[in-house]
Symmetry: C2
Subunit: 361 residues, 2 copies
């Protein structure tokens, strides 16, 4: 029996915050950060396969990463890789994927997932998606997963919890969304107990999200509905090539979630991190007695504390006297940077590109 459970994995992001590990031609989601032999994308697929059959896993990516994806995910049918010809943020990606899936399965349920996050609790994750599918099966509901915050992160989006849903202990109406609060606000959010982190994991029926686009982002809805007769046919690619670039570049949060009134949040404990930075990777990694983290490498670090050492390849690092540093060595680039300056890495990468050339970024 063909399942109506689908999953859309968004894996077209570029991102420079993990430079020099992540590169223009090898972004974060394709890297094996934990030395497990599986990239973050592969781990994402591993995590969803107990709930969604492989033939229903859709990967939306930039055309330049299609080759890496085929290589990393040989078990996924090639026609499941949707290639965006331009970068347009998450809303067009989600709108296209929903239309694509609805064309062959009008009653599809879709879980939409980022490809580059960390989820430590796989069983809880699978159960959350299962329960989420059940929840959105009845009625017109858009569901997002909310993570209980553990510290006042100023880089995440926050979801304010509203009314309880009858019979669902862990699911509430969404009262509001807030992106990247200032430190004071983040502290208030944390203390109130009423705000959860937005993990960017969404569950809905294909029909319901298409309807939501029609209501809240009608131009984009119309753009992608105009291709209805091409989806899941050999002509889909041509249609996308011709039209995708005309879609507004906007996130799903701004385009739909913040406007819709039928948005719910399921509060979950997934051992989640967005791995948005070296510092985030440091935070979730096991540390030695001096608080140092080593990723895939042998390190002698006398007098070093609170530092992360990451090397791509068979290499040793001898470091002395570094306090709270990131040391990341990959191929033709080496980064040595205080952990609390890592927000500057994006700028640094631009400087590197300008001064030394594309081959270093």
């Amino acid at each position: 029996m063909k399942s109506n459970r689908y999953c859309v994995i968004m894996c077209g992001g570029a991102g420079s915050r993990f430079w020099p590990f992540s590169r223009d031609n090898m972004p974060k989601q394709f890297l094996d950060f934990f030395g497990t032999g599986r990239s973050l994308l592969q781990l994402t697929v591993d995590r969803i396969t107990p709930v969604v059959p492989k033939e229903n896993i859709i990967l939306v990516t930039n055309v330049k990463y299609a080759g890496i994806i085929r290589e990393q995910l040989p078990g996924i049918p090639e026609e499941n890789i949707l290639c965006e010809p331009a970068r347009r943020n998450t809303a067009p990606c989600i709108c296209w994927a929903a239309n694509h899936i609805a064309a062959s399965c009008p009653d599809a349920l879709i879980a939409t997932l980022p490809s580059d996050h960390l989820v430590l609790k796989e069983t809880a994750f699978a159960k959350a998606i299962e329960d989420g599918f059940d929840f959105v099966s009845s009625g017109d509901r858009l569901l997002t997963l909310g993570i209980k915050p553990t510290y006042p992160n100023t880089g995440y989006g926050y979801i304010q919890l509203g009314q309880h849903v009858d019979g669902c202990d862990d699911t509430r109406k969404v009262k509001s969304f807030t992106e990247k609060p200032d430190p004071e606000m983040a502290r208030f959010f944390l203390d109130s107990g009423e705000f959860y982190w937005n993990a960017g994991i969404f569950i809905w029926k294909a029909a319901d999200i298409i309807k939501a686009f029609e209501q809240h982002c009608p131009e984009m809805a119309q753009l992608f509905e105009s291709g209805r007769k091409y989806y899941a046919t050999p002509l889909e690619k041509d249609f996308i090539e011709a039209n995708f670039q005309n879609a507004q570049s906007i996130s799903i949060d701004y385009a739909v979630m913040e406007k819709a009134s039928n948005v719910f949040v399921k509060t979950v404990d997934l051992g989640w991190s967005d791995l948005g930075s070296w510092k985030a990777l440091y935070d979730v990694s096991p540390k030695n007695a001096e608080g140092n983290v080593t990723q895939n490498c042998n390190v002698l670090a006398p007098g070093c504390t609170g530092s992360l050492f990451a090397v791509n390849g068979e290499k040793i690092i001898v470091a002395s006297g570094l306090k709270d540093y990131i040391v990341a060595d990959n191929g033709n680039a080496l980064l040595i940077c205080p952990a609390d300056e890592e927000q500057k890495i994006r700028q640094v990468v631009n400087d590197v590109r300008t001064r030394f050339g594309e081959e270093f970024v």
Copy 2:
């Protein structure tokens, strides 16, 4: 006309103070530290060729480096490479080389040079060697070059100046030698104006240094004189293989120079450094406005001061906030270490060998 001027370049040292650039199989003298395209050994040969013909340049090395030397110095006759089958410090090296040279040129004059030092003033160097040859031509004299100290270095050997030599403004009898003084003593040496650095550059007649060995180190003299009939013949190699290891491991300073009464010092200004450490390399290298030195690499170093960045290969470094650090990246090893801790590098290299294996040292 065959010249009686010879030069012995000692290039068998191992040394770990420039790890991870210098390695067991590629010590410092074979490295191109300044990105000039010439190794320290090649620069040493370049420097002496105005004074000594190439066919009279003798290289004494450890057998394991013979291949590198042939590669780096294709212009030197292969039979001029003397391969020590064991490490025995400088005295056996010098004693063998003197006997080897005397066998084919009994009235040879020999300049003995380290292969891994920096000499910026090449013309002054050539003149010093020329003048030195003249000085030792008459009489039984052992000559060493003395460098006017510029700071109280505690790692060098010091030469105390004695009586002037008639007619030689810059040449004095040697009163005493002192190895590696403590900081107070080094300060006193510097302030007195009477002590010069021992550059390890020696000039003498082959016959005179052999005689000095006979007087002050008779066992070693006898060991090498017992091979007299083999030197400069195809049997020399076998004789050395069988006997060299029996030589005492001792420096020329301890074995002869500190004991002999016919030792003279010529005070010279050569722009000299023994390049004994990363810090020494830093000191002699051009610096940018922040006092940073970059060796062969592209560096973005916001907030870094007084640091040295060295990379072997096409690579960039982005570093932030390092004060007085050494960052040295070469192949499978990376060193990040405060400049004032570099005396620990030898120990670190031993730790690396023990914990991670020979391939990293």
